[in-house]
Amino acid sequence: MSGETREAVAAEDGTIVLAIGATRGGVFEAHGWEEVVIAFAKARAGDVDGARAMIDALLAREPDEWQGPYNAACLEALHGDTERAFAQLARAVEMGGDEVRDFAPGDSDLESLHDDPRWQDLVAP
């Protein structure tokens, strides 16, 4: 069932899990989440500009998906550029509406934005 949530914890060092997935009856397309994961790893390693470049390329390739600007907002919020974070979050809300408003409050990546008055304006119902 597509609604089943799933996660796993590695019970020992050296654990490696192979994951395979596709949509039944649909053509497989590589999705941007892979690049988002790499971009965030780059940023954690100190290469925030490199991470931004990857996210920008993703935004250019998938301009109609709210997840792009949303992840850009997370990246900026995590790395201290509040202005860019709100600009991207505003785009994500504009594109994704309630789906983004429901998801964002529980996302720890965006915690640094919570005390800013713009947060309530964008995310509050």
Partner: protein, 208 residues
């Protein structure tokens, strides 16, 4: 949600020496192709020699356990557990031998730009135990089930005709063979040499 250890999956021994562990079929996966293979014994085939030219699949193999020697486009590559080999070009001939008895290889494939369809060979592989034990009704049923999803698949029709001919259902065999040849005329040449059709080759209506 279902879980199973790969060693508890069905073991279907093929004539080439490899054992098919039908992962996709076990779970009823319809979104992608995935299977595992082991050798009947150390030194036996673990991935049959083949190309993916007909299906157009990209393939990736992961050695889950043991050690396998792949031969790809005539070149040998020994892979330990944890190593992957990816083949983008469907025309490349590929196969592998399990170098240890416990070798286990996971295989995944799909055609770029197309939704996954269950490959007809799975039905033919699944029918091998029944055919080997001459349980023709079981072999026929497996093919009929597959044909419910893909009623005009020439290879499935051809193999159904084989099972019917061996099982004494000669008229059904002739009808299905005729339809297979209408859809894929090259099957006529194969049928002319196929021992499965020995009992019906002289019947009127057997494809030329």
């Amino acid at each position: 949600m279902k879980t199973i250890h790969v060693d508890r999956l069905d073991r279907i021994e093929m004539d080439d020496g490899f054992v098919w562990r039908p992962i996709r079929r076990h779970f009823g996966i319809e979104a992608f192709g995935v299977n595992a293979y082991s050798p009947r014994e150390a030194g036996a085939q673990v991935v049959e020699e083949h190309s993916e030219s007909q299906l157009g699949h990209e393939e990736i193999y992961l050695v889950l356990r043991g050690r396998a020697r792949f031969t790809i486009d005539g070149k040998e590559h020994e892979l330990d557990a944890g190593q992957l080999v990816f083949l983008r070009d469907p025309a490349l001939r590929r196969g592998a031998v399990g170098l240890t008895e416990d070798t286990l290889v996971l295989a995944l494939g799909g055609k770029p730009g197309e939704a996954y369809e269950i490959s007809a060979w799975e039905t033919m592989f699944a029918a091998v135990p029944a055919a080997r034990e001459e349980r023709w009704d079981d072999a026929i049923r497996l093919h009929e089930e597959a044909l419910e999803r893909r009623p005009e698949h020439p290879a499935l029709l051809y193999n159904l005709a084989c099972m019917e001919a061996r099982g004494g259902k000669h008229l059904d065999a002739l009808l299905h063979l005729k339809r297979a040849v209408e859809l894929e005329p090259t099957w006529a040449e194969t049928a002319a040499r196929d021992s499965d059709f020995a009992a019906i080759r002289s019947e009127p209506g057997f494809p030329d």
